[in-house]
Symmetry: C2
Subunit: 339 residues, 2 copies
């Protein structure tokens, strides 16, 4: 297995990406290709005294900044690290790509170069969430903001395969994020998606209210990219706000300040449980190749985990499994349009 | 001022509603009418040894259960407590109605009997959220699940007036819940709503990412009823899950268990800061009368606060202010359709 890594992406420069790659190689029998400007990458490898020949460099002269318009990448940045790294997957020179850079640019690179899996209409970013019962996946969290019911249904299929792979469950419970449990609840789009999912062979458990996202009642949570993205970011913001409010309360009284000594341990462990770095990147599902999107703020550990996951997804032939399921769904006349 | 109270609504029976009404009268120069089955209400008042003549009973023979279809209310439950209480507002016998019963039934009662404020297309439930800087309002959180851009714009106008009233700010900051700060980010509906809001006289601060909801960067957060409802319930679920995860961590070690003694105070104060009961109900804005929707689990304190707020909204002539702003917006040619 070979994984291409966008070395120029991420908010913290080269170091966490190079270090994460080195850490991954300690756990992995694979080749990693750092894609980006050769001189600074080589300098970083020298600094870290790295000699393992399984880590190579593929030069790419351009970079894509975080604020740049993704649309520009396909036209003006064809020698950028993310474009070149994705091209290696297209050309068969790599089995997957990992990037902590501009998310839009990563999506555009994958969409234009890898294309879609046959039959899949739109891509979906599949994030992981900690729940009271373990881990769940949610898709889409930002790739496709305007969805149709049929696309939501396809997200369910892709989430099913990814959930199976990730959670090790034979038949993951798929829920549709909505505003009430009854099938009559929802907006026009989710009501139609409910019908398609119910008639599918998926283990569909029905509508899922917002309250149930973190309870762990579902393994796979289906929603459009607009709702998913807002949901994820509200969760991040609320978790931060709650920690700050709790700390304010703790610090506001002498007894509270005393508790600080004791609560630091539990708070740190909670932080670890809800830390995205523990999870590593989120795959862009639906494109015809493995593309892992990492948080811009990714640590070396997050990069390492994303590389391990990309390798596992490639080895597990996730793309083939999704392609098979989608082909079957297109043969099943659950929807007159889909027959 | 006279406020009609749906005495038969809520998950905890009559007691919190009657007690909340009694508490409200201690702080309020107003008349309250408990609407519902006379015998049990009178028995409850006797039990609590209440004699103040400002609290009266209006008999209504029917009740609406929490699980009942709201659509039935208008047809088969015209002598239900919520229908009769809302009718009192319509007939001028009360200045506002408060209910902790079936939310859908409360909306249907208001929609059919009070009608809409002239020019307002759809109603919005306006919830309050605690933020790091104080309080914000969010609308819609569940009345209108399929929205147009123009309806979102009208929610901005209604939120502006309610935010002014509630937060005491001359010109509340209005933000549009979306997936990025730039005006090019969002789905088709929010991009069009962005344009309408930017060209309006509102203090529009642009798109608001999910992360910013609890930071307090905006006073009024505009979204459709589907997104708002999911957002609110995800927040409730995550707050619960975080408390549970923290408690598990605290209880998992001896040092942690020791901290329990010290952290109880701060946790209780945090709970109070984020407790919906402190806020009292959420108004159904857009209908032509004051209608306050309370959580089914409302405590006496939550009911009291909702009554105080209903009285304040009626006194502040919120309906007239919204009507004036909407009329002005219809005269301003920000949108060819609206000219």
């Amino acid at each position: 297995m070979k994984i291409a890594i966008d070395a120029m992406g991420g908010d913290h420069g080269l170091s966490p990406i190079v270090e994460g790659s080195m850490q991954a190689l300690k756990e992995l029998d694979a080749e990693l290709i750092l894609v980006g400007q050769e001189d600074p990458i080589r300098a970083e490898l020298d600094r870290l005294k790295w000699t393992d020949s399984r880590l190579t460099i593929q030069h790419a002269s351009q970079t894509v900044e975080m604020h740049e318009s993704p649309a520009q990448v396909a036209r003006k940045k064809r020698d950028s690290s993310i474009w070149v790294a994705t091209k290696m997957v297209k050309d068969g020179a790599a089995d997957g790509v990992v990037s902590a850079g501009n998310t839009g640019a990563t999506m555009v690179s994958a969409f234009f170069q890898l294309g879609m899996i046959k039959g899949v209409e739109r891509p979906a970013i599949c994030a992981m969430l900690p729940t009271l019962q373990g881990t769940a996946v949610m898709l889409d969290v930002g790739a496709t903001v305007d969805c149709t019911a049929r696309q939501l249904y396809q997200f369910g299929i892709m989430g099913h395969e990814y959930g199976k792979h990730l959670l090790g469950k034979a038949n993951p419970r798929v829920g549709l994020l909505s505003i009430g449990e009854e099938d009559t609840k929802g907006n026009d789009m989710t009501k139609e998606a409910f019908r398609l999912l119910r008639e599918s062979p998926l283990n569909f458990i029905g509508n899922l209210e917002g309250r149930e996202v973190y309870s762990g009642n579902a393994d796979v949570i289906v929603c459009d990219g607009f709702l998913g993205n807002v949901s994820l970011k509200i969760s991040e913001g609320l978790a931060d706000a709650m920690k700050k409010m709790l700390m304010r309360e703790v610090m506001a009284s002498r007894l509270g300040r005393l508790s600080f000594l004791f609560i630091t341990g539990p708070l740190m462990r909670l932080r670890r449980r809800t830390d995205y770095a523990e999870f590593g990147g989120a795959p862009l599902l639906g494109v015809n190749g493995i593309s892992m999107i990492c948080h811009g703020r990714s640590s070396a550990k997050a990069i390492k985990n994303a590389i391990l996951r990309a390798e596992a997804l490639a080895k597990g032939r996730l793309i083939d499994l999704i392609q098979r399921d989608i082909a079957e769904s297109l043969m099943t006349p659950t929807d007159p349009q889909m027959a």
